[in-house]
């Protein structure tokens, strides 16, 4: 998909963490592209590498994390090759991020205005007065009532939903082209979550920004995303449009995830929930073959010893031998 409107392209990115007891491969050979104005969701459970991936893109990885290979192309420039100063220009001006914890991502000793105007003045070169006015505008945009007053509040005077909206306002204040939202609603109540998701969708329509949504919640994905990348143990296992993925999940892991969510559908009987057996393998001791093989219901002999590549099958990307186009499942042998 080499279209002209690709905003961010990640190619074969791998990130390692060198630990005392060995190396953890947190992100393994991940590729994806975010197009202009698109919402791309990256879904995975804890330990799937999705947050490390977003930090790698932002250049915010901390020791011992390290990008070992790959490219992160933003409008054609490789972010990994940029100097710190150039990277700082990209962050905020072009790409900005909403963090997971609204409770801890704001500085408790500065007012909302101080924190909002800091990034506005740095990145947009406005004077103090214009920056304050813009801060108030941004707070109004994200739906904070009486923003002129609330801008002088400290973070502790606001509720979780309000703080998350302040974080969103901060991320949006320099008109980014791409917003990376790392679990933007996980710490929030359901009714507030609905507000924030509606807000992000609304802003995307208004200012046409692209969103890279990182989440473990398939419900949030179904509500907002255009395309979905499913990650397991640092690897992409399935990539498809949201409609296709939820309509017909194909990878056994995606299928299991979707089936294990308690549905709201009206059922007469209470059948036990579907569950994926077993646990995520230890990242220091990954199996040789497919990372999901131990928990998979459709495991084959070769899954235990060989790592499946990412196939282009069924109009999407799939990392599973079930979709190996060269294998003939009926004959059980390699056809070509």
């Amino acid at each position: 998909m080499a279209d002209a409107n690709i905003l961010l392209e990640v190619r074969n990115l791998s990130t390692d963490f060198g630990m005392k007891r060995g190396t953890v491969h947190a992100v393994i050979d991940v590729s994806f592209a975010v197009h202009e104005g698109e919402v791309l969701a990256i879904v995975g459970e804890s330990g799937s590498g999705k947050s490390v991936l977003s930090l790698s893109v932002m250049g915010l990885l901390q020791h011992p994390g390290r990008v070992v290979s790959g490219e992160i192309l933003y409008k054609g420039t490789d972010l990994l090759g940029l100097s710190r100063g150039d990277m700082r220009d990209i962050r905020g001006n072009h790409i900005s991020m909403i963090f997971q914890e609204p409770m801890t991502s704001l500085n408790p000793v500065f007012t909302i205005e101080d924190q909002l105007t800091e990034s506005i003045r740095t990145h947009m070169k406005l004077d103090a007065k214009a920056a304050s006015a813009r801060a108030v505008d941004m707070l109004r945009l994200v739906g904070i009532p009486s923003p002129e007053k609330r801008t002088h509040d400290y973070p502790h005077q606001m509720s979780g939903g309000m703080r998350q909206r302040v974080m969103t306002a901060m991320a949006l204040s320099c008109d980014p082209d791409l917003l990376i939202a790392d679990e933007p609603t996980t710490a929030l109540d359901v009714t507030i979550q609905a507000q924030i998701l509606a807000l992000i969708g609304d802003l995307r329509n208004k200012i046409g920004m692209a969103v890279l949504l990182i989440t473990h919640d398939l419900g949030v994905v179904a509500e907002t995303a255009d395309r979905v990348v499913v990650m397991y143990c640092g690897q992409v296992v399935e990539e498809a449009t949201a409609l296709e993925l939820f309509e017909r999940p194909l990878h056994p892991y995606t299928l299991g995830l979707l089936r294990s969510i308690p549905t709201m559908e009206d059922t007469e009987t209470d059948e036990p929930l579907y569950m994926i057996r077993g646990m995520v393998p230890n990242p220091l001791n990954m199996p040789k073959g497919c990372a999901f093989a131990d928990r998979c219901e459709r495991r084959m002999e070769r899954c235990k010893t060989e790592m499946p590549p990412l196939y282009d099958a069924e109009g999407r990307k799939l990392r599973c031998f079930l979709f190996d186009p060269s294998a003939d499942p009926a004959a059980g042998r390699v056809a070509s």
């Binding site: 359901v190 009714t191 979550q193 473990h216 398939l218 179904a222 509500e223 939820f246 309509e247 009206d266």
Partner: protein
């Protein structure tokens, strides 16, 4: 499950818990946080009652009062003919075995310096539930019951994943041979694939040991799976109680409707128009008179004559077993379909 002739296992009557927030120079309370305000609820033997609400609505406080981690400010907790709220500490000791608690955070609720075997055997030892020489067998039996190998008894909590730790927490609660277990958001800290494992385990144990659950959660979808009846709380008040299917098919309270519509769908083809509540949850500190939900209510305008801002609505039974606390459903004033959307 709506059989009113049955004797409840536990009955909460007009239960309240207020926390003093501020005092004047004479030490008199000037400001209170009404965590739970005049809550009345029956839980019947063998049922799973789901208690749902957003953070700060008082659902955890209810659970903590039932296991005596909080003393109620007012009201009674009737259990086997005794009011637990009035018992002394010593008298409570004998009763406490029957009601146990499973905590929300499996990472914080297990002592990191004790082995799993010690954690599970401690309550057995202290309460002398089985003779000393049988404790080891009992621990092994409990570990097996929650789907862990009995060999894990010598391991420490940090060696386990979140789902396994939660199983240890469940085994510890079972060790006391309880009749009622208060499950305080037992799966909200776990991954989706592990959530399903723990929920299924809780369902199985309920049948195996004849348990009764008070299942506390913040989302309606988890509760739907495990409960027989569901109660919805908002700012310390119970706003709606109904058998599960009735509640999900025919929610009446405006807040319940909003909560149900806020649950993300799992099929993007079915993205629906949401009821988006304006504003944040108001503060439970010195709440205004009148309905607690009035400041966010979108249905209030549908009933001009209702006293939403001045009088607290009572919990009334609108159909068998279905209770709702909203002025729209006050007697003789059923504006059922007057609500928008």
């Amino acid at each position: 499950m709506t059989d009113t002739t049955r004797e409840p296992l536990i009955r909460l009557e007009h239960l309240s818990k207020f926390f003093p927030m501020d005092t004047d120079v004479f030490g008199r309370t000037t400001s209170v946080l009404k965590a739970v305000d005049d809550l009345t609820l029956d839980i019947f033997p063998g049922e799973a009652f789901g208690l749902v609400g957003e953070s700060g609505c008082g659902k955890t406080t209810v659970g903590k009062m039932m296991v005596d981690l909080y003393r109620p400010t007012a009201g009674e907790i009737w259990y086997e003919g005794q009011d637990l709220a009035k018992l002394s500490k010593r008298e409570r000791r004998g009763r406490c075995c029957d009601i146990q608690l499973i905590f929300q955070d499996p990472y914080a609720s297990l002592n990191p310096r004790m082995t799993v075997g010690e954690i599970i055997s401690e309550p057995i030892r202290i309460n002398r539930l089985v003779p000393r020489e049988q404790i080891a067998d009992r621990v092994g039996y409990l570990l097996n019951a929650v789907g862990l190998s009995a060999n894990y008894r010598n391991r420490f909590p940090h060696e386990f994943s979140g789902g396994q730790r939660q199983r240890v927490g469940i085994a510890r609660a079972l060790a006391m041979q309880p009749k009622l277990i208060v499950c305080d958001e037992p799966v909200s800290a776990l991954d989706v694939s592990i959530q399903a494992q723990v929920l299924n385990l809780l369902s199985d144990l309920r049948e195996e040991f004849g348990l009764t659950y008070l299942f506390i959660a913040h989302g309606l979808n988890v509760v739907k799976h495990i409960s027989d009846r569901v109660g919805v709380m908002y700012l310390g008040r119970l706003v709606e109680v109904a058998p599960k299917r009735e509640l999900y098919r025919n929610p009446l309270h405006p807040y319940t409707k909003a909560l149900l519509s806020a649950i993300p769908v799992t099929n993007p083809a079915k993205r629906t128009q949401r009821i988006l509540l304006e504003g944040d949850v108001s503060s439970p500190i010195d709440p205004p008179p009148g309905c607690r939900f009035a400041s966010r209510c979108y249905a209030k305008s549908g009933c001009a004559s209702c006293a939403c801002d001045t009088a607290m609505p009572e919990l009334v039974e609108v159909s068998p077993g279905h209770f709702v606390s909203c002025h729209l459903f006050d007697e003789g004033k059923r504006v059922l379909d007057a609500m928008p959307r």
